[in-house]
Every structure is written in structure tokens, then in C-alpha cells.
């Protein structure tokens, strides 16, 4: 029998997930609408002084990005678990880790792309100093894959529980705190006119660590969950 190419199967999986997502647009839009609402509410809540807003902008943007990511995270494996597609994924004739990389990639694409596009708007709404705009964008670019791949571990662990939502947040938030710290540190450094390469380099390191190791952790967690 001809050897099946991993790439073919991976493309098939990615294509299917994208078309499934395109048919559940409301699920897709919820987190991003939540994010926009939170960001627009802040100036109303703390008052419209440009200095205060500019000062809190990095934290506000990143905390809301983090929370909105948690909101959409369950989509990663929940539906697949319910309809049995998850079992079929574990039985694909490729290393399951590759399939998981595909799932994480699709989730990242669908959750982070809107965020990356909207980032300048968010910066504008909160009066973030212009010098920091590019750094904000870089932190989002480096940080969102971490959210997706660390989140995948949590979702894989809790997918078989009926009400895993609260547990998922409790499980993941502590793990994501370093990301939040480095990201806001980078943006604040840039806002005060200094080079932000240090914290960005740390974020890059976290990115490499999580994206390479999480597929293995997710695989182990899924094997427990489909029991």
C-alpha cells in the first residue's frame, strides 16, 4: 500500500476545520466582539483622560485578549469530542501530534487573525503612544500562538467533563501569567521610547517552547479524555 503523505492528511484536516468554522460564524465572532466591547467600555469606566488611558492601555488590551481567548478556546476540541471526530483524529494514519498541530494552527488562524487586524484600532481607542504600536502588534503576533497551544492542553484535559469551562480558566490562567507580564512589559518599554527587544525575546522563547512541546502534551491528554 502506498505510503500516505502526512502533508496531504494535514491539509485535508485543516481544510475541513476551516469549512466547519465558516459555518459557525457566530462562535467565531463572539470572542472578538467581547474584546471590542471591553476595550470600548474602559474609557467610559475610568474616564476619558488620554494620559490615564495611554498608561493602562497595554494591560487592558492584553488582559482582554487573554480573556477573550479563553472564551473561544473550548471550540478547539469540544465539538469534535461530541460528534466523534476526535476519535477519528486519533486513528488517522499519521502521528497524532501532526494532526494536533493542524488543529492548533486553525484555531490560531481564526482567533488571532482578527485580533492582529484590529490591534491598531484597539491601540487608537485607548490612546496608546504611537511608538508602542508596532511592539503591541509584535507581542500579539508572538503571544497568540502561545495562547492557542497552551490552551489546547487545557481543553484536551477538560473536554470530557461536561462543565469544564470554569476549570479550564483556573487551569490555564496561571500558566499564561508570564506571557501577560512579558507582553505588557514590552509594550510599556516601547511606549517610554526604549527598545523592547528583551521582553520580546522572552516571548519568542516561550513561543518556541510551547508550540513545540504542547502537541505531545495534548496527545497525552486526549488519550485520557477519549477513555
Amino acid at each position: 500500500m502506498a505510503k500516505i503523505r502526512t502533508a496531504t492528511i494535514l491539509t485535508a484536516l485543516i481544510k475541513r476545520d476551516l469549512s466547519v468554522a465558516m459555518r459557525q460564524r457566530s462562535d467565531l465572532l463572539n470572542p472578538i466582539i467581547f474584546l471590542l466591547v471591553v476595550i470600548t467600555l474602559f474609557p467610559l469606566g475610568v474616564g476619558p483622560e488620554p494620559e490615564i488611558l495611554g498608561r493602562i492601555a497595554p494591560g487592558v488590551i492584553w488582559v482582554s485578549a487573554l480573556l477573550s481567548a479563553l472564551l473561544g478556546l473550548e471550540r478547539l476540541f469540544r465539538d469534535d469530542f461530541r460528534d466523534g471526530a476526535l476519535e477519528q483524529m486519533l486513528l488517522l494514519p499519521v502521528a497524532t501530534e501532526w494532526a494536533i498541530v493542524g488543529k492548533i494552527f486553525v484555531h490560531w488562524l481564526l482567533s488571532a487573525a482578527p485580533l492582529l487586524i484590529l490591534a491598531p484600532l484597539l491601540a487608537l481607542l485607548l490612546n496608546l503612544p504611537q511608538e508602542a504600536w508596532f511592539t503591541l502588534w509584535m507581542t500579539l503576533l508572538l503571544g497568540t500562538p502561545v495562547l492557542s497551544s497552551v490552551g489546547a492542553i487545557g481543553v484536551a484535559l477538560t473536554v470530557s467533563l461536561n462543565k469544564g469551562g470554569a476549570l479550564l480558566s483556573l487551569l490555564l490562567l496561571p500558566l499564561l501569567v508570564p506571557l501577560l507580564i512579558f507582553a505588557t512589559a514590552a509594550i510599556e518599554t516601547a511606549a517610554s521610547g526604549l527598545p523592547a527587544l528583551g521582553p520580546l525575546a522572552f516571548m519568542g522563547a516561550i513561543l518556541v517552547l510551547t508550540t513545540t512541546l504542547s502537541p505531545f502534551a495534548v496527545h497525552a491528554a486526549l488519550r485520557v479524555s477519549v477513555n
Binding site: 484536516l13 475541513r16 471526530a85 476519535e87 486519533l90 486513528l91 488517522l92 499519521v94 477519549v226
Partner: protein, 209 residues
């Protein structure tokens, strides 16, 4: 001689309860094995262990004489597993579901497999998302995979669920064909399989307290 699929001394313990102890199975080309037993006896667990979905607690499962953990990719390429939850995506149409399954098995269709849908009686429903179809029709989408896969080993968990009599007959016909072509089937069902022409063996599981 090593069969196509064999299980030796498989034991499964779920929680405090031993589902079955030292269960053995040997499945050769052209054979069908039906696992029977009351609800909760561990039929599904046994099938899932054989498919490699559940970890093996004791014993060994071999595919062509090799442990399935060692030849996982080759085994899964030659295996078609349809469980209780069939893995049909409710948002996608029958055609899209089938195209995905075919690609994932490494045998993509060159054009949409309308003939397969005709065989399983889903003509005219190819553009409707699976969630709008009835349970039996969704089952037919999943079972349509049996007509377009070259996998030799089929592991089917209650394939007749929600099928009508015509569907059950159709499936029997397909089993006969598959067995004649040298395939093997491991399945659970509460139905008698007396209509089949080929060799049918049974494994009986008792409910253990």
C-alpha cells in the same frame, strides 16, 4: 500462523470493575467476528482497545503478527473504525464528510463520490448539512465509508443502530463483499447475523459484577 488481527489475554478494568479477563481473539482474512453480550459488558471497550483508542492494560493486540503500538501507522491505514459517535461533522454535507474521510485515509476522490451516496440511498441530499438529516441518514453517511475505503480491517460498534431494514440488508451485502475480498470485520451487534454467507464467529461477554 499470525492472523490479520489477534488479541491475546486482554483484560480491561474500568474503575473498580473488571469488564473482561484474558479475552483472546484471532481474526483472519475473510472472517467476521461478532462480539455479543448484555449492555455494559464491555463490548465497546474491547473494540476500542482493539482499535488502539484505549490503552492496553494487560495482554497484547497484534496486527499481522506485530504489536499495534509498534506498527501504529500501518495498522491505522488498514483500519476503519466507526464507533457510537461516527465522526460525521454535522455542519458539513454528506459529500464534504466523505471527501474528508477519503483524503484522511490517503485515497482522495478525483470527483465528488455521488455514486457512493447513491449506493447508500442519500441521493438528493448531498448538499444538505448532516445536522439537518435524520439519525439514520447520518448513520448512512458514516457507513458510506465502507464503500470507499480499501482498509482491510473494519471495527464497527453497533453499525445497525438507527438503520431501517433496507439499510441493514444493504450492510449485510457489503459485509459479504468485503469478506469475499479478503477483509475482516470485528463488530458488536444485538442482531443475529444469520443472513451472512461467510464465516461468523462469536465472542460472548458476560456481565461481571
Amino acid at each position: 500462523m499470525a492472523g490479520l488481527l489477534s488479541a491475546q489475554q486482554v483484560t480491561s478494568v474500568r474503575g473498580e470493575r473488571t469488564l473482561f479477563k484474558a479475552l483472546s481473539l484471532s481474526l483472519n482474512c475473510g472472517e467476521l467476528c461478532q462480539v455479543v453480550g448484555p449492555n455494559g459488558a464491555g463490548k465497546s471497550s474491547f473494540l476500542r482497545i482493539c482499535a488502539g483508542l484505549l490503552p492496553l492494560q494487560q495482554g497484547e493486540i497484534q496486527y499481522q503478527g506485530e504489536s499495534i503500538e509498534q506498527c501504529r501507522t500501518a495498522y491505522h491505514q488498514d483500519l476503519l473504525f466507526i464507533g457510537h459517535k461516527a465522526g460525521v461533522k454535522p455542519e458539513l454535507t454528506a459529500i464534504e464528510n466523505l471527501m474528508f474521510f477519503a483524503q484522511a485515509q490517503g485515497q482522495p476522490f478525483e470527483e465528488p463520490p455521488y455514486d457512493v451516496l447513491a449506493t447508500v440511498g442519500l441521493v438528493g441530499l448531498e448538499d444538505i448539512p448532516a445536522q439537518q438529516l435524520s439519525a439514520g441518514q447520518q448513520r448512512r453517511i458514516a457507513l458510506a465509508r465502507l464503500w470507499c475505503s480499501s482498509a482491510k480491517i473494519w471495527i464497527l460498534d453497533e453499525p445497525f443502530t438507527s438503520l431501517d431494514t433496507a439499510g441493514i440488508e444493504l450492510l449485510h451485502g457489503r459485509f459479504d463483499e468485503h469478506l469475499q475480498q479478503g477483509g475482516a470485520v470485528l463488530m458488536t451487534s444485538h442482531q443475529a447475523l444469520s443472513q451472512l454467507k461467510g464465516a461468523v464467529s462469536q465472542i460472548v461477554l458476560e456481565y461481571q459484577h
